[in-house]
Symmetry: C2
Subunit: 270 residues, 2 copies
């Protein structure tokens, strides 16, 4: 049974980072309805064992399917690296990750070139970016940057702190033709990264992913034909006020907020 | 039934931070055996809803009791703030947190004075430090410092990055007689904090807590009378190599490492 085109698209991330992907999707697909899951109770994914991230992703997809989504965008690099293509093979709706679009953008921009990959420890550890880039003849320099996410979430992206942290991570980088911002928070650091890596094209997976999703929805006949603007609903596993506060640093959240419970039911506190 | 004095002491934290408390305990109580739980799969606690932190703490205490501990040290400020005195009232063994010792140290050092409290968002939000200090006539200035933990875990505690972040958090601080380092990671930043807060006594909950635990064990007849040095075993919920790597930044880990599973059993990945 095919889900109808007016059904919402599911989007999920370990927290608020995926809101950059959601914003890119909404810009290209203004008629679509979106259900966004922010798993802030279990953030960060980047430092957790990969089998745990896979379990989280499977659980969130089950939630989104129970809400009738017509497709799912894994708007989290770590979850994309850990859980795709497993999810894509098993779920009854199309599933998109953010890794493949980032790789394709790099190959278009600098075929056979020297590519940098910046991401969480988990994403870099999987080699999910490095493998296809190297298979396509690129030389890859990969660097986990664990401080970037808390720096964005603390609202100090435009300060000398962020600049020094970027220099710390990138001081050994060779000259790069392009660098993939392999974590949904990193576009908030684009200004500083372009200063630290002059002459390097910075590739934002969010925009690339939105382009691929828009293309595929049209191809599959799943695009919402309505002219009216679509809605957004946020399903959040952690604290709602904290979510709203941090989301504002990434330009969100618009739409309704709803608390959802995932994982072990909380043990009753005596 | 009273647990025998040769039984181990349980110590737990959301991750590696509690190793500073463990080290202080071992220094004062060299004959004791220790079981240390590092809940690295669910770190950080500081940004999570308090009822979730309470559920985690109850689950870890159940694990430690099943391993026969004679007492439990909650070596995590957020868990101490969220879960005590509930745990202390319900568990069949003595339970110590890190908050009360920190408060007592501040009151000894600067009775009725101006006290700073630095901690995670969760710890500060509970008011667990502020209430007893204010009740004792102190003026309290409290500041959540979310970037301090990732800075310590990234090994950049002694750099200009840490210095700038400390200045960022403390730029509005009034003149303080003493400041409580209300998170187990923060003692790693003592050098920089003493530069940014000259003339302020920096109080380390780890040492204060160890003193209280040693005193109470003797009082309760629970101190291990053996002359031989005690052992340490680490029960870790996340990735073992990551734990060992990060623990080295805090002077650990000595002793055996064991992976334990807490929370929802991982969903089988199709």
């Amino acid at each position: 049974m095919k889900t109808p085109p007016h059904a919402p698209l599911g989007v999920f991330d370990s927290g608020v980072g995926g809101l950059t992907v959601l914003a890119a999707l909404r810009a290209l697909l203004p008629a679509e309805h979106f259900l966004y899951v922010g798993d802030t109770a279990r953030v960060p994914y980047g430092s957790k064992p990969l089998e745990m991230v896979r379990a989280f992703a499977a659980e969130i997809c089950a939630l989104l399917l129970s809400r009738g989504v017509k497709g799912i965008v894994v708007a989290c690099n770590t979850a994309s690296a850990a859980a795709l293509p497993g999810l894509a093979a098993e779920l009854p709706v199309p599933v998109w990750g953010v890794i493949a679009p980032g790789v394709q953008a790099a190959l278009r921009r600098a075929p056979g070139g020297r590519i940098g990959v910046l991401g969480t420890a988990g994403t870099i550890r999987t080699g999910a970016y490095q493998r296809p880039l190297e298979a396509a003849g690129c030389r890859v320099w990969a660097r986990p940057c664990p401080l970037f996410v808390p720096i964005v979430e603390e609202g100090v992206s435009d300060t000398v702190i962020a600049r020094l942290v970027a220099e710390h991570y990138l001081k050994d980088a060779p000259a790069l033709d392009a660098a993939i911002l392999g974590c949904t928070h990193y576009p908030a650091l684009k200004g500083i990264l372009s200063e630290v890596l002059p002459g390097t094209a910075l590739l934002d997976s969010a925009e690339e992913t939105a382009r691929v999703v828009a293309h595929d929805l049209a191809l599959l006949g799943l695009a919402n034909p309505n002219a009216a603007p679509g809605t957004v609903r946020h399903l959040v596993t952690g604290d709602l006020p904290s979510y709203a506060h941090t989301a504002r640093l990434l330009g969100g959240p618009e739409g309704a907020l709803e608390r959802v419970v995932l994982g072990a039911p909380p043990v009753a506190q005596p």
